[in-house]
């Protein structure tokens, strides 16, 4: 417990920001997905750190992390399947080339 909680939080913020940058700036959809995974991991670090430092008796923090795992796994599976599907039809998975929703 020698590490202050704030360090973990700042670490998580940095990780989150890096991940967010990937989401915002990478062209490849898989890279974007990796950014999302980074963000989710940052959240997990926060959850565990808060659990450890604020409520070690109540394990809800850890349980939530497991739910995030489940969501991340589902997201990865469906997201990657979508990408493969898109790649088949469009021969690209660059996010800035996929703008079907524009008017």
């Amino acid at each position: 417990m020698t590490v202050p909680l704030t360090w973990y939080l700042i670490f998580a913020t940095a990780l989150f920001s890096i991940g967010f940058f990937a989401v915002l700036a990478r062209r490849n959809a898989i890279a974007v997905l990796m950014g999302v995974e980074l963000m989710l991991n940052a959240v997990n670090v926060n959850l565990v750190a808060f659990w450890r430092y604020l409520t070690p008796e109540d394990l809800s923090g850890q349980i939530f992390v497991v739910f995030v795992f489940a969501v991340a796994a589902a997201e990865a599976a469906v997201g990657l399947a979508l990408m493969i599907s898109i790649y088949r039809t469009r021969k690209t998975i660059n996010v800035d080339e996929i703008n079907e929703l524009r008017l």
Binding site: F20, L24, V32, V95, D96, I98, N99
Partner: protein
């Protein structure tokens, strides 16, 4: 153990409800399957209700702590309606009766609902009614309503089930809605259903007003919360409200009278009695089930339930109870007189039902609610028996008519043959022995043949209460009614079962199928022996054998609700009077109809002796005509007046406005259209185009742009955070 069984109480209305949905949704095309589902469900309900009832009976100490179970249902602001069940002595008694009677009638129906004579025989495929499944669905739903009403622990649920029964009653009275009669003045099932529904509606609206007032006052509709709370009842009795025309009355009186109107409607008491005789247009099991044994007695049940409020209502101003007693006693006599001059076998029983319900209300009015509930239970048994017996007779006569028709002995020279007319019957005891003897048992019970019949004990209890309480007017009214009851009942018996057959149809009537006769026998046992629960303790001989069990149980319950139920000492005078009247009525009936049976086509001898009175009675004191005159006609007149007003005044104004509008429009149209409308439309179009062109730049279709905007917005929000 008892708790385990009581926890099953809430299941009681469930099987029949499920049966309703199962039949409506899935089993409709399969008729036999439908009836089997319905009978199976009602048998389960019967077993459950008897389990609960008998558990209660063998544990009298439970009366001190009635079982109750409820869950939150409707949260309404600060209050929550609870949905729940409760079991006390009254509920247990009702469950005992309702479960059994329902089952008997369901079984009976499976035999009765064969193909009716008025329908085109070419529709007939399997000898069953074309809407056989639907019939069982309806009566299943009805059974749900009745069982739910009995086990409900609050007035709101009671009201819901009450209305559910009303709906079923409407549907079942008009079950043969395509039926019509050559005589246009005779009411058809469709009209009868409508009439029943609308008439009871009057009572139900007032009932609901009563409920609303009670809820405003009590903030709850739970029975135990209201009746166990003496302080509240005290307050209800003392706080007053000013009404137009009536002046200042206590809340208790207002609420009681309003709720009593609900009972008047449901139990067909004067002046809302007109629907019940016409309800006989429904199939006979329906008449037995709904319009004799269960639904109409729900009114009595309601007043029994509400007794603490009624007692509170009669504390200050002696209004509510007297009103109940008056209505009850009056109806008892009034309906009995009408019954004397009816010739339709079911209508006699219908008026008899009204009369007997009047008895119960009279008993309630004089505070003898224990006697009322016992009479209610016993009446249900023998009246169901009588109705089922009459159904069996009608069925037999119809079959006999078909039989005679096929063999060329046609007696339809008048065109229309009424299989319910007692003057078309006679001598049926030989043709239909089981129906006949069970009917006679029921008739004896209804006529209160002393000592041996159940009806005697319960009726005697009421009379004894009236005598002992010094309510002489009530006593004598009821006593005369008892005489008339015995008379018309045995008039019916003699006309139907004795003498020689007056028509070919009656001569060829066969005994009914076993599905119909067995319920008759089962009910006959109860109609005969059920009364021994009500034998007064100090009646010579019998009282010692039968230990007054039901009375005891109900008295315990009365104490719980702070009702005075001091057992009355047995006294010979009223008992002897009642015995004399009953036997006298039977004797007179024998003298008139039994000694010398009527021949075919012979008129009722009473007509000659009573003259115009008979005509009045035959026309039910012209109440239908009166209502037609004071309610229906004004309503129709008002409607046609408004229609004329609409056409001549409103329409003209509207037309004038329209014409003016058209003139104005044609004048202004060109100018307005060109400059304002076109301008606005074009302007909107231009603005939309321009805005779209600008806003379009934002929508790039690229997720990452949107996300960037999101990020920047979050950053701005975070920056605004310290400024807050």
């Amino acid at each position: 153990m008892s708790d385990v069984i009581f926890n099953l109480t809430w299941l009681i209305p469930l099987p029949t409800a499920l049966a309703f949905f199962a039949i409506i949704l899935f089993a409709n095309p399969k008729k036999r399957l439908s009836s089997n589902i319905a009978i199976g469900a009602v048998v389960i309900a019967w077993i459950l209700s008897w389990a609960v009832a008998i558990t209660f009976f063998v544990n009298p100490e439970l009366t001190e702590h009635p079982f109750a179970l409820h869950v939150p249902w409707l949260p309404m602001g600060g209050l929550t309606f609870h949905m729940g069940v409760a079991v006390d002595a009254v509920t247990a008694g009702m469950l005992f009766m309702v479960g059994f009677v329902l089952t008997m009638i369901f079984i009976y129906s499976s035999g009765y609902m064969t193909f009716p004579g008025h329908l085109d025989p070419s529709l007939n495929t399997d000898g069953l009614d074309p809407r056989y499944s639907r019939f069982f669905a309806y009566i299943s739903l009805f059974a749900t309503g009745m069982l739910g009403l009995v086990v409900a622990d609050n007035l709101l649920m009671l009201f819901i089930f009450w209305e559910l029964m009303g709906l079923c009653s409407y549907l079942l009275i008009g079950f043969w809605f395509e039926k019509s009669y050559p005589d246009p003045s005779q009411i058809t099932p469709k009209q009868a259903g409508l009439k029943a529904f609308l008439t009871t509606r009057v009572g139900d609206v007032l009932f609901m007003m009563g409920l609303i007032f009670l809820f405003i006052q009590a903030n709850t509709l739970n029975f135990q919360d209201i009746f166990g709370n003496t302080a509240f009842l005290e307050e209800l009795a003392t706080s007053t409200v000013n009404l137009p025309f009536f002046g200042s009355v206590s809340w208790a009186v207002l609420i009681s009278i309003l709720i009593f109107w609900g009972a008047i409607g449901k139990s067909a008491q004067f002046p809302l009695h007109v629907w019940l005789p016409d309800a006989m247009e429904g199939p006979t099991p329906v008449s037995a089930l709904i319009h004799a044994a269960t639904m109409v007695s729900a009114g009595v049940y309601l007043i029994v339930r509400m007794s603490p409020v009624f007692v509170a209502a009669s504390e200050g101003v002696n209004g509510a109870m007297t009103f109940v007693a008056f209505i009850g006693a009056f109806t008892a006599l009034f309906a009995a007189t009408i019954a004397v001059a009816q010739k339709d076998i079911k209508r006699v029983l219908a008026y008899s039902t009204i009369s007997q319900l009047g008895y119960m209300f009279a008993a309630l009015g004089i505070g003898a609610w224990v006697a009322a509930i016992i009479h209610l239970l016993i009446h249900a048994f023998f009246k169901a028996l009588l109705f089922l017996g009459s159904g069996s007779v009608i069925h037999g006569v119809e079959h006999g008519r078909h039989h005679a028709h096929e063999h060329g002995h046609d007696d339809e020279h008048e065109g229309y043959f009424d299989p319910q007319d007692m003057f078309n019957m006679g001598g049926l005891l030989k043709r239909m022995p089981i129906t006949g003897w069970t009917f006679i048992v029921g008739a004896a019970s209804l006529s209160a043949v002393p000592i041996i019949t159940a009806g005697f004990w319960s009726k005697d209890e009421i009379l004894a209460h009236a005598w002992h309480g010094g309510h002489m007017a009530v006593f004598w009214t009821l006593a005369i009614a008892a005489f008339l009851t015995a008379f018309y009942t045995f008039r019916q018996v003699f006309l139907t079962f004795f003498g020689k057959p007056r028509t070919e149809a009656a001569a060829h009537a066969p005994e009914s199928v076993r599905a119909m006769t067995w319920p008759l026998i089962a009910l006959a046992v109860f109609a005969f022996a059920g009364g021994f629960v009500a034998v007064p303790k100090d009646f010579p001989g019998f009282g010692a054998i039968f230990s007054d069990y039901m009375l005891h149980l109900l008295e315990l319950q009365g104490e719980l609700y702070h009702l005075e139920v001091a057992p009355i000492p047995f006294s010979w005078t009223p008992a002897l009077i009642s015995m004399t009247l009953a036997l006298g009525g039977i004797a007179v009936a024998w003298l008139v109809y039994g000694r010398k049976p009527l021949a075919a086509g012979e008129a009722d001898p009473l007509r000659g002796w009573l003259g115009p009175v008979y005509t009045v009675l035959e026309h039910k004191y012209y109440f239908d005509e009166l209502y037609h005159f004071i309610v229906v006609r004004p309503a129709m007149w008002l409607a046609s007046f408004f229609a004329r007003f609409d056409r001549s005044v409103i329409d003209r104004i509207v037309n004038w406005v329209g014409a003016f509008g058209r003139w104005l429009a044609s004048t202004l149209r060109r100018w307005f259209d060109e400059y304002v409308i076109d301008g606005a439309v074009n302007g909107v179009g231009l603005v939309t185009t321009w805005t779209g062109a600008v806003v379009r730049l934002v929508q790039t279709g690229q997720v990452q742009n949107y996300l960037l905007i999101l990020l920047l917005s979050v950053v701005v929000l975070l920056l605004l955070l310290p400024l807050r």
